[in-house]
């Protein structure tokens, strides 16, 4: 699979003739669970995300230079 994906990238280098050319690799995850997990926001993690955001803003403020 890795070699095939590099091959697709090389095909792009050879074959793209305009900007924003996109090629979709013909590989899929074995199930659909990733759709739910990726950047998940629900009642189970809403408070945790809010806390993480606060922490990040605090760090950003402290690192300004």
């Amino acid at each position: 699979m890795q070699r095939a994906i590099i091959g697709l990238a090389l095909d792009m280098l050879e074959g793209a003739w305009s900007p924003c050319t996109t090629v979709r690799a013909p590989f899929q995850w074995p199930d659909h669970q990733w759709r739910h997990n990726f950047m998940r926001v629900d009642d189970d993690n809403r408070e945790e995300l809010a806390r993480a955001g606060e922490e990040r803003r605090r760090l950003q403020e402290s690192m300004k230079y």
Binding site: R3, L10, L13, E14, C20, F38, A52, M63
Partner: protein
């Protein structure tokens, strides 16, 4: 006769919608915005791929920054390293990607230098750049455009690179 494939979902999820909702949940007041370029520079390769030296740029780090958000914010410099031998490990724990669906223990899955070398042996590509290039994940377009991209370009030109593959995590 093969039947047409039938899907229950479109193949991708809307990263734009998901990221807007995600950052909103983190308490950011301004909605997450995307850069949109109406005009994108484009140049056809000057020679056939079989005569091109190809380089790799990655957002993986050569330093282990751990997994904290603070680490991501502290990584601000580009780096380069030798392609031969390929690195046994690079570090991605501080970056934001789907850590439940996959892992990055195999460097070839995001920096396939050995795979690219096979295409060199097959004659599809002339050579692999002697160095690969690391660029930090940065949420500043200004730093990406004015600082990081020119640095990577400078190194690539020093190495005689004709084309670059970007592997972003």
């Amino acid at each position: 006769m093969a039947l047409n494939r039938r899907n229950t979902h479109r193949s991708f999820v809307s990263y734009i919608d998901k990221s807007r909702i995600y950052y909103e949940a983190q308490g950011y007041k301004q909605p997450y915005t995307w850069a949109v370029h109406d005009r994108v520079p484009f140049t056809l390769p000057a020679k056939p791929l079989s005569q091109c030296k190809v380089g790799f740029a990655t957002t993986a780090s050569i330093v282990d920054f751990g997994e904290s958000v603070e680490s991501l914010m502290r990584e601000r410099e580009c780096y380069f390293a030798q392609c031969d031998p390929p690195p046994e490990r690079l570090f991605t724990g501080h970056l934001f990607w789907d850590k439940e669906a996959t892992h990055t223990g195999d460097v070839e899955c995001f920096l396939p230098l050995k795979g690219l070398s096979e295409y060199v042996r097959m004659g599809r590509v002339a050579a692999v750049s002697p160095r690969f290039y690391g660029v930090p994940t940065d949420y500043s377009q200004g730093r990406t455009i004015k600082k990081h991209a020119p640095q990577i370009l400078k190194w690539a030109r020093e190495d005689g690179v004709d084309a670059m593959l970007l592997s972003a995590l």
